[in-house]
């Protein structure tokens, strides 16, 4: 009995922090419609500032707390709202989600530039005590809590009571609730809805900062990973509260913390379950909640009666390309290939990078299918790649099947898993689909990957190169060409699917699900096929990657890397095959450029993460947008020259991509107008 209560007590402070982050999450979601996945990252900012000032620079607790929580917390919220999210109030959900994803990728890296990459230990809490907050122990009968735990309990109580009172009784609370329902109608009452939104962002970020400072001593370290994963536990708690109720969210967070404490206490520490299940409990909880929790599945959105005021967002479906651009792309691609292939073949170093870029492009085609074509954000593409890789590795090492066959088997396996996952998950749609896939990715990573029969446990499994048709692909050059051939085959497949029945169904569904259903499109079937196809392509790429590196290394398929992949592809262009290839190449090229000019390589995720903000404006991708601009520019010039009767110049430069947009008519050039 005493044990039980001890474990429960140990879990509650964790639960409180989960609840704090969750409450902040609910607050921003309700007031701005942004599901802020970067919330854990925001908590990390404050935790890092507090650690740096209090531990490294020996500031007293109060000024360090004021700077980290009361100044930096709201400041981050202010910056995010003013610079990013206020321009996204009318953007579609997917765009806001992509923006939050970008921040999730970029913020921790930005902080690390200053704070340092490695986790920092020797964390001090905010509980004033001469021995240090961790060692101040308070006894309550048989049970004991240390200073950090007490501080967490008090802070949570203050926040919950304060926010509840704010919403019930205060002016700003009432305004926030009005803005949640309709920002436009609130403005008609003479209230500056933008300012109310900013205040809500600052307030929720303050809560995030507080959670960060409280959490660091409980983790006993300050590291970016802990905080980014924290968001999953918080989302689970928020989901428990149906994304609206603060008391239920608090309860959900505490239940989660307690469950984790109990698992930690009762499971034998060395067992597989203890190592896998305990850390992954939030992921499992989130996954199950999203799929089974009725308050999420039957959510009734209060609609904004003035939603019609906003211009319709640029629809994903309405992005037809001009024939000219397609041809220009093909010609350009041939030119690039003619230059790039000899260059890549010139040295082993470039050959390795080139092969990986080609394989990554194949994996990115899976994102083209699920995000570009089906319009859904899936955050477990890296997991499908991992499934492909591990299937390949296990079959090769245990059954000595030919490598080429195992790669295909891996793709098939990923496709099957994808289809099975799609059935419960696709019903959710929108952000819930993204969250459920992310939970699945983390669950897979922490529960299954460590198992011997999946990821190979401590020793990753070796994968040889394939050998068939009389060619030994152990030779890097021939393997490079094999990868290009596979990429070409998959590209053709994707193009055919896009032009075929399924592709058109998906186009119709993206345009309007209701209208598509009215003409007899079965949305579930079309999407399950897309999801499964996408998983299969990712699995194929994963198998290839393992073959290329010679080992099925779990770190290569890290779920956070997977997040970055999505951000990268979506930012550069997720609608076309060439978009996937550009992203695959850019992944290595940007890295290489940064390395050569001596800039910290964490700028790569920062650049692409922040680049994701452009998605709201250019859902076709920035490269695609630039290309259209350049082509339009060149065409205008050609027309002008023709009219003057001057000889036309060859149109070779149209694909330069980075050509400045036309200065003459900056606003007349609209997306989708070409």
């Amino acid at each position: 009995m005493t044990d039980l209560i001890t474990y429960v007590l140990r879990g509650i402070p964790f639960g409180c922090v989960f609840a704090l982050v969750a409450i902040g999450l609910v607050l921003t979601y309700k007031t701005s419609g942004v599901f802020n996945l970067a919330f854990g990252a925001q908590a990390y900012v404050s935790a890092a500032v507090y650690y740096d000032t209090h531990v490294r620079h020996k500031w007293p607790i109060i000024p360090a707390f004021v700077l980290a929580v009361l100044v930096f917390g709201p400041l981050v919220g202010l910056v995010l709202d003013r610079l990013i999210f206020r321009f996204m109030r009318t953007a579609p959900h997917v765009a806001r989600l992509v923006a939050a994803l970008g921040l999730l990728v970029a913020i921790p890296q930005l902080v690390n530039l200053w704070f340092g990459q490695s986790p920092s230990f020797g964390v001090e809490g905010i509980w004033p005590s001469s021995q240090g907050s961790n060692f101040a122990v308070y006894h309550f009968g048989d049970y004991a809590l240390n200073g950090d735990q007490v501080a967490t309990l008090i802070a949570t109580a203050v926040v919950v009571i304060g926010l509840t009172a704010l919403f019930r009784f205060s002016d700003i609370g009432l305004r926030m609730r009005a803005v949640v329902e309709s920002a436009r109608m609130t403005e008609l009452s003479g209230i500056n809805a933008g300012r109310v939104g900013t205040i809500a962002w600052m307030l929720s970020s303050l809560v995030a900062g507080l959670a960060g400072v409280l959490l660091a001593p409980l983790f006993a370290q300050v590291s970016a990973t802990n905080f980014t994963v924290l968001i999953v536990a918080a989302i689970a708690a928020a989901a428990f509260g149906g994304l609206t109720s603060i008391p239920l969210t608090l309860l959900g967070g505490i239940l989660l913390g307690v469950a984790q404490g109990l698992l930690g206490g009762y499971l034998p520490p060395a067992s597989v379950l203890a190592q896998g299940l305990r850390p992954s409990l939030p992921f499992v909880a989130l996954f199950l909640l999203l799929i089974f929790w009725p308050s999420l599945r039957n959510r009734r959105e209060v609609t904004d009666p003035l939603a019609g005021v906003d211009p319709p967002p640029p629809g994903l479906a309405a992005l037809e390309r001009s024939r000219g651009l397609t041809w220009a792309t093909r010609i350009f691609a041939l030119i690039v290939l003619a230059i790039a292939i000899p260059f890549v073949l010139s040295s082993n170093y470039w050959l390795l990078l080139g092969t990986e870029a080609v394989i990554l492009s194949t994996i990115f085609l899976s994102i083209v299918v699920i995000t570009g074509m089906a319009g859904q954000i899936s955050l477990c593409q890296a997991t499908f790649a991992a499934i492909g890789a591990f299937t390949t590795a296990q079959l090769v090492s245990n059954y000595h099947v030919s490598v080429m066959i195992t790669i295909l088997a891996g793709a098939a396996m990923a496709a099957v898993v994808g289809a099975l996952l799609a059935i419960p998950v696709l019903r959710l749609g929108g952000i819930y689909l993204a969250l459920a896939t992310f939970a699945f990715a983390l669950m897979f990573e922490s529960v299954l990957v460590p198992l011997d029969w999946v990821g190979g446990g401590a020793n990753p499994i070796k994968v040889p190169r394939p050998k068939f048709a009389g060619i030994d692909f152990a030779n890097n050059k021939s393997f490079f060409f094999l990868c290009i051939a596979i990429l070409a085959v998959v590209s053709v497949l994707v193009i055919f699917v896009r032009g075929g029945t399924i592709g058109r169904y998906l186009d119709a569904l993206r345009g309007s699900e209701t209208a598509a259903q009215a003409i007899g499109v079965n949305p579930t079937r079309a999407r399950i096929i897309a999801f499964s196809l996408s998983a299969g392509i990712a699995g194929l790429g994963g198998g290839l990657l393992a073959t290329q590196t010679g080992i099925a290394q779990p770190a290569d398929y890290n779920s956070f890397l997977g997040l970055f992949w999505v951000v990268l592809v979506v930012t550069l262009g997720s609608r076309t095959v060439e978009g996937a290839v550009q992203a695959g190449v850019a992944f290595y090229v940007v890295d290489e450029i940064l390395k050569r000019i001596g800039i910290n390589q964490s700028w790569q995720p920062i650049l692409f993460g922040l680049g994701a903000m452009t998605y709201a404006k250019h859902p076709e991708g920035i490269l695609e947008f630039q290309k259209r601009q350049s082509l339009a520019f060149v065409q205008r010039h050609l027309d002008r020259m023709k009219r003057r009767g001057a000889p036309a110049e060859p149109a070779g430069a149209d694909e330069a991509g980075a050509v400045a947009p036309t200065p003459a008519q900056p606003s007349s050039e609209r997306v989708g107008a070409d």
């Binding site: 002016d171 009432l174 305004r175 609730r177 009005a178 949640v180 329902e181 309709s182 436009r184 109608m185 609130t186 403005e187 008609l188 009452s189 003479g190 209230i191 500056n192 809805a193 933008g194 209060v302 009666p305 003035l306 019609g308 005021v309 906003d310 211009p311 319709p312 609209r670 107008a673």
Partner: protein, 251 residues
């Protein structure tokens, strides 16, 4: 009827649209609309579906910014000014459909508005007056506004403008979907709002009701003003301008 015509130079208009063009993204709804509403006047805005009536209302309250042309309030240029600032000048807009906050209670709906208009101190008093005018609302003060009937929701919207009359009330299809007896009541209330000195911009399907109350009539057709003049002179024109909606009956 009043003596001044809408275009008479001596009456400085309360709100004026000059050659306003507006739309939603790539869609254009208004093609050069000019309209002026003198203080205390009731202007009925008539036109068929899709003529741009609601867009005119949204331009007047700042919800939609004109892409060309000007919006003037008492002679001051307010083109592109945010909606909440225009609201603070005394323009109240009851949008088409639901115009109350469904997730707030009746009392909170009133408080939200009165706190902005009158300040925190005077707000409770104004709420009490609203309950005096509409006892039904008082009975339902703790109820979420979304659970009120359509008529009660209109009463709630009108209670606000009746207790604290705006300079201009834009009423967009205020009687849509209401029982005839409730429509009568809504119009009586609108008459009271006018008597309090507010100018009215009425957008209405019930042409008869609107014309009974209106001083001036503007007829909108395909995003352009087709006729603008005293309601009393509309007579002969009505057949041609409102082929579907009117049978020539007016006050």
């Amino acid at each position: 009827m009043t003596t001044s015509t809408p275009r008479s130079p001596e009456a400085a208009p309360l709100l004026e649209l000059r050659d306003v063009e507006a739309g939603y993204g790539p869609f254009r709804a208004l093609f050069g609309v000019s309209l002026s509403i003198p203080p205390g006047h009731v202007v009925a805005l008539l036109g068929s579906n899709g003529a741009g009536k609601t867009t005119v209302a949204r331009v007047c309250s700042g919800l939609v910014a004109p892409t060309a042309g000007k919006l003037l309030f008492e002679g001051n240029d307010v083109t592109g000014v945010r909606a909440y600032r225009i609201a603070r000048l005394g323009v109240a807009h009851a949008p088409e459909g639901r115009s109350v906050f469904a997730s707030l209670t009746v009392e909170e709906n009133l408080l939200l508005a009165f706190r902005v208009d009158l300040g925190r101190k005077l707000a409770p008093e104004a709420v009490a007056r609203a309950y005096e005018l509409f006892p039904r609302l008082g009975e339902r003060r703790k109820q979420h506004a979304g659970t009120l009937s359509g008529g009660e929701q209109r009463m709630l919207a009108l209670a606000r403008v009746l207790v604290n009359p705006p300079r201009l009330l834009i009423a967009d299809e205020l009687s849509l979907g209401l029982a005839p007896i409730v429509v009568e009541e809504v119009y009586r209330t609108l008459g009271k709002v006018r008597d309090e000195g507010a100018a009215l911009l009425l957008i209405e399907q019930h042409v008869k009701h609107a014309l009974a109350l209106a001083d001036d009539v503007a007829v909108l057709n395909h995003g352009q003003v087709n006729y603008y003049g005293p309601a009393s002179e509309l007579g002969d024109l009505s057949e041609r301008l409102l082929p579907a909606a009117s049978n020539g009956s007016h006050a």
